[in-house]
């Protein structure tokens, strides 16, 4: 059944949407958009590392994304001026990654698949990795859900309730690194952050509770994946950007609908 490349692509897109919907909601709530950028751009550096050491790219990506996410999260908790720091880190990670990859022989041609993803080329093994990663992320976030929400709302309240904000931050850092490793093959380093932010931002306009926002973000992400795939088949557009385009269109529709309803 999984022999159809289209079915594999659709399943991969849905798996990704579930993980990015949940995590993306936290990215929005905690204003971590640039954080997602820095971590996903660092994935390119991870690819370079993996290729030069002859490791699977998933491993290289995971390690470098984890290192970047941990660095950024530590700097943030020490009170650095994050806007500038993250901007510098995000773009330098990408530039360093691209330069490093150019030293690896025979990869230049492949570069665009790391930048924009290639969801239509997903194998059964990839699919297992994607769903495994998504399952871990979802399990982590759902397990820590109440504590994560409280910490996100206010760290002092969390402390007073006996929670440890540092531990909850670690949960998000781990999840982000995992999502980046999972999403790289599908939408590429440049658009991972878009998958985190756009569906959740669209969901915000429709939700009254954190849970409904997260669930809607998952749903909007899944619909975007399927619609983007459709567009890609139909007009032969690149799949990753098509998925993000679909999400952006949904965001715009929700925004306009919300404006009209508010009148």
């Amino acid at each position: 059944m999984l022999d159809s490349f289209l079915l594999r692509a659709a399943l991969a897109g849905i798996g990704l949407a579930l993980a990015t919907g949940l995590l993306g909601s936290f990215v929005i709530w905690r204003r971590m958009a640039y954080f997602g950028d820095a971590t996903s751009h660092a994935a390119i550096l991870g690819v370079a590392l993996a290729l030069s050491l002859d490791l699977p790219t998933e491993i290289g990506t995971l390690i470098v994304a984890l290192a970047m996410a941990a660095t950024v999260s530590t700097l943030a908790s020490k009170g650095w001026a994050m806007d500038t720091t993250l901007g510098v880190l995000a773009h330098s990670a990408l530039a360093f990654g691209l330069v490093a990859i150019s030293f690896v022989p025979g990869v230049r041609t492949d570069l665009s698949s790391y930048l924009f993803g290639d969801i239509l080329a997903v194998t059964k093994v990839d699919l297992a990795f994607i769903w495994g990663g998504a399952a871990v992320v979802m399990a982590l976030l759902i397990w820590r859900w109440q504590a994560l929400l409280t910490t996100t709302l206010n760290e002092d309240l969390a402390h007073a309730s006996g929670l440890n904000p540092d531990r909850e931050r670690l949960v998000l850092t781990l999840s982000l690194a995992l999502v980046v490793a999972v999403a790289l093959k599908l939408v590429g380093a440049l658009l991972i952050a878009a998958m985190l932010i756009i569906p959740a931002a669209a969901a915000r306009g429709l939700a009254r509770n954190p849970e409904s926002m997260a669930a809607l973000a998952c749903g909007i992400g899944a619909i975007s994946s399927l619609a983007g795939l459709q567009l890609s088949l139909w007009q032969d557009t690149p799949a990753g950007p098509s998925i993000v385009t679909a999400a952006a269109v949904i965001f715009a529709l929700v925004a306009v609908f919300g404006r009209l309803r508010a009148r």
């Binding site: 002092d156 309240l157 007073a160 009254r208 509770n209």
Partner: protein, 260 residues
């Protein structure tokens, strides 16, 4: 029963000694109020006692598994997270609808369960924070300027509620306040703070202390006269009182303002 205590507690923030050598102990069933001008370290003391900020020296001892209900001075809630009042009350521990409704009723916010937190006024927000703090069935309530944003009847009702909670549950209350006159009537013990403890004791003792009058820029009369005046009345009814003597109230709040 001793619920919480600190010995030689000192806190440094940004290279400045914000608190020095604080000794404090909170017993069950007592209402302790911290008074002090702005920047004197009141909020910092609560946060240090809660373990939110590290101590530079000294130690805090809590009774094992003590439940603390905390109402912070400021809570900036971001519009990016949708959150109804009902949902907020279930963080981090889920509570039943019945308990949530009861808590909202106690603080005078029945019927607000489905409102968004970001749509509440300052005073309403403060009441919901208190409802949430009450829901953990606290042994200690720590309230940082809890009546800011409340109107006068709201403020009076607030102190009645605190008293009620104390009577019902035996909880201790540690609060920061600026309302000198109400504090004097509502507290068992007052602590005057200005980076260190200037003076402490029963309201009557403190209001006679020269350190206290110096701290608040009061003359030899000021709050003392006001306190004794109020004390001669039946002080179980602060609410009525505040109305009967609204001129006094204005007078007191001006002085507070001046001190801060």
């Amino acid at each position: 029963m001793m619920l919480l205590s600190a010995r030689n507690l000192s806190v440094r923030l940004g290279g400045v000694d914000v608190l020095q050598d604080i000794d404090i102990a909170i017993q069950a069933n007592e209402i302790v109020t911290i008074l002090g001008p702005n920047g004197s370290g009141k909020s910092t003391l609560l946060r240090a006692l809660l373990g939110i900020i590290p101590l530079s020296s000294g130690r805090v001892t809590r009774a094992p598994n003590v439940r603390i209900g905390y109402v912070p001075q400021r809570l900036a809630m971001d519009r990016s997270m949708p959150m109804t009042v009902r949902r907020f009350l279930s963080l981090p521990k889920r509570v039943s609808d019945a308990d949530a409704a009861k808590a909202l009723e106690k603080v005078g916010m029945s019927g607000s369960a489905q409102q968004q937190m970001t749509d509440l006024s300052g005073g309403q927000f403060q009441r919901v924070l208190l409802a949430r703090a009450l829901l953990c069935n606290p042994q200690i309530l720590m309230l940082d300027e809890p009546t800011q944003g409340l109107d006068q009847p709201g403020e009076a009702a607030f102190y009645r509620l605190i008293d009620e909670v104390r009577l019902d549950s035996g909880a201790a209350v540690l609060m920061v306040s600026h309302d000198l006159h109400v504090v004097m009537a509502a507290s068992d013990r007052v602590i005057c703070l200005n980076r260190h403890i200037c003076c402490e004791g029963t309201p009557r003792v403190v209001s006679n202390a020269p350190e206290y009058r110096a701290l608040f820029g009061l003359g030899t009369q000021g709050a003392l006269a006001l306190y004794q005046h109020m004390h001669d009345h039946n002080h179980d009814h602060h609410h009525d009182h505040a109305h009967d003597h609204s001129d006094k109230h204005d007078h007191a709040s001006k002085e507070t303002h001046h001190a801060g």
